[in-house]
Symmetry: C2
Subunit: 413 residues, 2 copies
């Protein structure tokens, strides 16, 4: 039997035991994991060193090496993350709805775990622990498929987590790392409907598309955000500039950062905004009228409007009306996060109604599309699909529902 | 441009207009459709006749010809179905949740349409109207892909529905029939993520698997139900027999009918139950002890435990304990609907906790797994997957959520 099938079977069996444990049992086991990671810190760093050395020999970029790197501080952050997961409310067992039918049948819908979750991710070893502990808290077993470049680190972390579970109520088999990181085995994993209930890809657009295109197992798609900030004619000056700067620059490398700023052509502070962005080091690419007016603005190409820069670059465009902004977002956006800065409530209403996206903002930065910022405590990712979960996903996104029907002998006529 | 792409583009544009219409506008348009179908009844029957003739020439079975057939009565039922959809509460616009963050951001989650739904179905032309009107009510445009055998009927029904929409608030383009019913075009449709938000297959296991295996568009999977009734040691005699007979025989051809009856070996009325089933014409296939005791019980093979008969055949098996029943269901079941008949609350609790299925019953027939029986008014299908919707799907299953965040200039630190 292949490693994949063997581990998938173990997970399925272990998931059943895990699904009925109490919050106390799950939390106690999670704290054991935190403790064991602290105890085995030196060994984990030693194993991570092997990945870093190999990465250097293989010519990985500085950015990738940095993602791969574990340090004492990063291990502390991983441990803090686990404690935070412990503090979250357990979603399992929640009675979501309850009603009685005219024939006396009593129906309850109850939140239960999904079962076995396949996590597919890239270099950062912290995702190994984050994902595993979130899955466990919601009663799910997890098959981890990380990248080859992080294999030593991931093996060490999974081994430490498994050994921490020995002697707790959670069977150690609920966490499995797929050590065969070949593409063929990944493709096989994406089609393992018999054992896996859902796949969650975490990483770049390439990884996510590879999962979406090849999977028959249902996917929770996360990812691409070509987000816009629209500054309406009536937008307050300081508020609009603050929000545009924050949405673009506070952390340009993430999916909820803004990529294009749409500005009403009659807004009086266009120059102040563009000068501010330029002064703060943002490379601006604008429509013809803007690039003609401002020497520091390059001409935007059609491709710019589609691009998620993930960098201190912004596309800027003047529009005549809120509906032009809506049309632009409709055409180029990725249905992630879209903001309108305006003091005109009618325009805000139109924007909220017409723009199809996971999260819409009025007078706030797109950077708030985030599980913690939404108050979910921790985040599995930001769903960019419309089924099951849309927008920031907390623990509830990795649960499903079971209907419980109690009768007194009812049969159907 | 291919028919598929042309229609998909029209749908995407029309879906935006549809998504913001009021319940009154949608209901008025649905009633127009009902009226027009009544007016055009003769022509629809005439077109249906062509499919029936072709079906006969092509040697379709009596059962398939019956599914294909429209009659005055069936058209009346279709019209009644539309009136029922009109009477349903519109799910769109519902504020599902609302909260405020410590930084003053006010968050609402609001129910919105999915967008464009691809329906993939088989012979029965009534599904054309049922699906289209349910999609419209929930603000979704719909691409209908029926079977070649029903093409004349489907074309007539779609043409009538489109012409009914002329002069209403709903653009006629929100309903499109894919007339190219080739397998290649179907496969292309299943991968049309750019235009389709979800695929819903309705039909036999072959159709559903073909969609699941080939789709990159998210699928709402419906289908197979290998359902069990477990009669515990303490089950009341009449109740248990009634429920077993109802679950097996009230409509054997549907997914929520029972296929296997598991009986506690100490239940005192085993003979009465089996005699009753046999007398009512059920072919019984049992484990060794049962086939040895009862002349009319054949030996069940391993395959029997896996089989969804969809016919008056039942597998029967004695078990020693509720946990044996749970293990059997776990091994052979399809996570659809499972019932325990028992007066022992501890066993009921164990069954509810340990069995992983969409709907679990205590002292009631599995036949209640149905949108109308659950009180949803109408049914899109019964989801056998765990993501998005599980169990009977009403209108809410074809909606998604949009988060609306209102701020006063908040930016992220």
């Amino acid at each position: 039997m292949s490693e994949l099938i063997e581990k998938a079977r173990k997970l399925q069996a272990a998931a059943k035991k895990l699904s009925i444990l109490s919050s106390e049992e799950k939390n106690a086991a999670l704290l054991k994991i935190a403790e064991q990671i602290a105890n085995e810190k030196d060994w984990i760093l030693h194993e991570n060193r092997k990945d870093i050395e190999a990465g250097k020999s293989n010519g990985l970029s500085e950015a990738l090496l940095d993602r791969l790197l574990l340090t004492e501080t990063r291990i502390e952050q991983i441990i803090d993350g686990i404690r935070q997961v412990v503090s979250l409310q357990d979603p399992i067992g929640e009675i979501m709805d309850e009603w009685e039918r005219p024939n006396g049948l009593h129906i309850q819908t109850i939140r239960v775990p999904l079962g076995v979750i396949g996590m597919v991710y890239e270099a950062r070893p912290n995702v190994t622990v984050d994902s595993a502990t979130l899955c466990l808290k919601a009663g799910n077993a997890v098959l981890l498929r990380g990248s080859t470049s992080a294999l030593h680190s991931n093996k060490a972390l999974v081994q430490v987590m498994q050994s921490a579970l020995e002697g707790t109520s959670i069977p150690a088999e609920v966490i499995q790392l797929l050590e065969d990181t070949s593409r063929e085995t990944a493709t096989q994993m994406f089609k393992l409907n018999q054992y896996l209930d859902v796949l969650i890809p975490r990483g770049g657009a390439g990884l996510i598309q590879s999962v979406v295109q090849n999977a028959t197992v249902p996917v929770l798609e996360t990812g691409v955000g070509n987000c816009h900030v629209f500054i309406d004619e009536t937008a307050e000056r300081d508020m609009a500039i603050n929000i545009a700067v924050n949405a673009k620059l506070q952390r340009p490398s993430v999916c909820n950062a803004a990529e294009t700023i749409l500005i009403h052509e009659k807004w009086p502070y266009i120059k102040e905004l563009l000068d501010t962005l330029h002064d703060k080091g943002v490379e601006l690419r604008g429509d013809d009228s803007l690039s003609a007016q401002f020497s520091y603005i390059k001409n935007a190409t059609e491709e710019d409007w589609y691009t998620e820069y993930l960098a201190p670059i912004a596309a800027v465009k003047l529009v005549k009306h809120v509906s032009d902004a809506i049309d632009h977002i409709d055409r180029y956006g990725t249905k992630h996060s879209e903001a309108i800065i305006s003091e005109n409530e009618q325009n805000v209403q139109l924007f909220f109604q017409a723009v199809d996206a996971a999260v819409l903002y009025h007078n706030a930065s797109t950077r708030f599309t985030d599980g913690e910022q939404f108050g979910y405590g921790a985040e599995i990712g930001i769903s960019t699909q419309k089924l099951h979960a849309r927008g920031p996903m907390g623990l509830k996104a990795i649960t499903t529902v079971k209907s419980i029907v109690r009768g007194t002998g009812q049969v159907r006529n």
